[in-house]
């Protein structure tokens, strides 16, 4: 019997990452550098928010959690378990693109591993999501390579974006002090450390192809804290904005 608390911890952090990254992506709607990018970030936003909803629904249906909409919009900031990476404002397209590249490869490594999960709802969901993520990473890889090879300025900006995001991205793989060992022992997932290595194996060939230098991973300090409810100053205002309409009438039927 897998511990419900351990499962809930994993589901909530995955779902919160998807929800917040989805909202950040949606902020590009109407503002993309070219029309196709505007559409791409909007589509990926829709995918991610859909994935968050599917995860909140698993929590609701299998673990006695709250209704997905209420759970998404009515929790206090400290109950969110998203990584600091996804909380950051969009910045320029270079920052957003690099974050998308690092985040979506991390997500892909995670969902691929969940195909073998002992928790059946993860198996069913991961198959679906994995196929969709192919397009996210196809998009990210293509743009990382094109912009890095386009000009000196493009190359410099992508390298700077990588340097600025890598410690934040490493923070995705913050293990849970309370539940990590249980989840690995129960074969729910292979654990954050293993996923971190699979992630590096995925991003490294693309970075090499783009001639970008991966910073020395032993010298960076991963941005931990999000999984424990400690967040950057950017999350609070975002949650307020996201929940603004919902909280006008929390009993309304949509």
């Amino acid at each position: 019997m897998i511990s419900n608390a351990a499962l809930a911890d994993l589901i909530i952090k995955m779902a919160d990452d998807e929800l917040i990254q989805g909202h950040r992506n949606s902020e590009w709607t109407g503002l993309g550098p070219v029309m196709e990018e505007d559409i791409a970030f909007s589509s990926m936003a829709q995918d991610k928010i859909g994935h968050a909803w599917a995860l909140y629904r698993i929590l609701h249906e299998h673990l006695g959690g709250e209704d997905p909409d209420r759970f998404a919009f009515m929790r206090p900031e400290s109950a969110f378990k998203c990584a600091h990476l996804v909380e950051m404002p969009n910045g320029g397209y270079d920052f957003s693109l690099m974050r998308h590249f690092l985040f979506d490869h991390a997500e892909t490594a995670r969902y691929e591993s969940l195909q073998d999960s002992s928790f059946e709802p993860f198996q069913l969901l991961s198959k679906k999501i994995k196929g969709e993520l192919k397009y996210h990473t196809l998009h990210a890889n293509a743009f990382i390579m094109q912009l890095s090879k386009a000009s000196e300025e493009g190359y410099a900006r992508m390298q700077t974006a990588l340097n600025d995001t890598i410690a934040l991205a490493a923070g995705i793989f913050e293990p849970s002090a309370a539940h990590e060992e249980t989840l690995i022992a129960e074969k729910v997932y292979p654990g954050e450390k293993e996923l971190y290595h699979r992630w590096l194996d995925r991003i490294y060939p693309v970075l090499v192809n783009a001639s970008l230098n991966l910073p020395d991973m032993d010298s960076i300090t991963p941005a931990y804290g999000g999984r424990q409810g400690f967040h950057t100053t950017y999350l609070g205002p975002l949650l307020k904005e996201m929940g603004e309409v919902f909280n006008l009438d929390t009993e309304a039927s949509w």
């Binding site: 559409i39 995918d47 994935h51 998009h139």
Partner: protein, 165 residues
């Protein structure tokens, strides 16, 4: 109720009239969205379906359409359920559906043998002139299930229904 005299075939026949709201030439049958029909006497007819993409915004609309169209056609109560045990892949789309899609101006997905790889998104035949002198402009189009391509022969931008594993 007449439910005892209704066959699965009748239900599938009625389902051919339920069109996709985003691509009105394709029915839910053409798209391979129906995974099963259960007829149990004394109970509503159960239709099981799957969305093409997880976050497809048209799903609840399609569910309602299935229910109302089949109820009207057969005069029985219908329940529509999302089937969590089957996932949609583009190979579920029928050959006839792909032909209709092309005639509608959207390039159909190629038959997938194995995984989706970037290469299969290149040289997609243009639905307007048939040329394969095309390139992928963006894997994201006007809906989640479409990609944008450009045809170098006829100079037109066109959409493709994306292959999905």
């Amino acid at each position: 109720m007449m439910s005892a005299t209704i066959s699965q075939e009748d239900v599938y026949h009625a389902l051919e009239q339920v069109m996709d709201p985003e691509i009105p030439v394709l029915s839910v049958i053409d798209l391979g969205m129906i995974t099963g029909v259960d007829i149990t006497e004394g109970q509503p007819v159960l239709v099981r379906m799957i969305p093409t993409f997880a976050a497809c915004p048209a799903v609840s609309y399609i569910k309602d359409n299935i229910r109302t169209v089949v109820e009207k056609a057969l005069g029985v109560a219908v329940t529509v359920e999302i089937d969590k045990h089957v996932h949609w892949e583009s190979n579920r789309m029928t050959a006839a559906a792909k032909e209709k899609l092309k005639n509608f101006g959207i390039a159909p997905p190629p038959v997938l043998e194995g995984d989706v790889r970037p290469e299969i998104m290149l040289n997609t035949p243009c639905p307007h002139c048939g040329s394969e002198h095309t390139y992928l402009r963006s894997p994201f189009g006007s809906t989640l299930c479409r990609a944008i391509h450009y045809c170098k022969s006829c100079g037109q931008v066109f959409e493709q229904f994306k292959p999905l594993e």
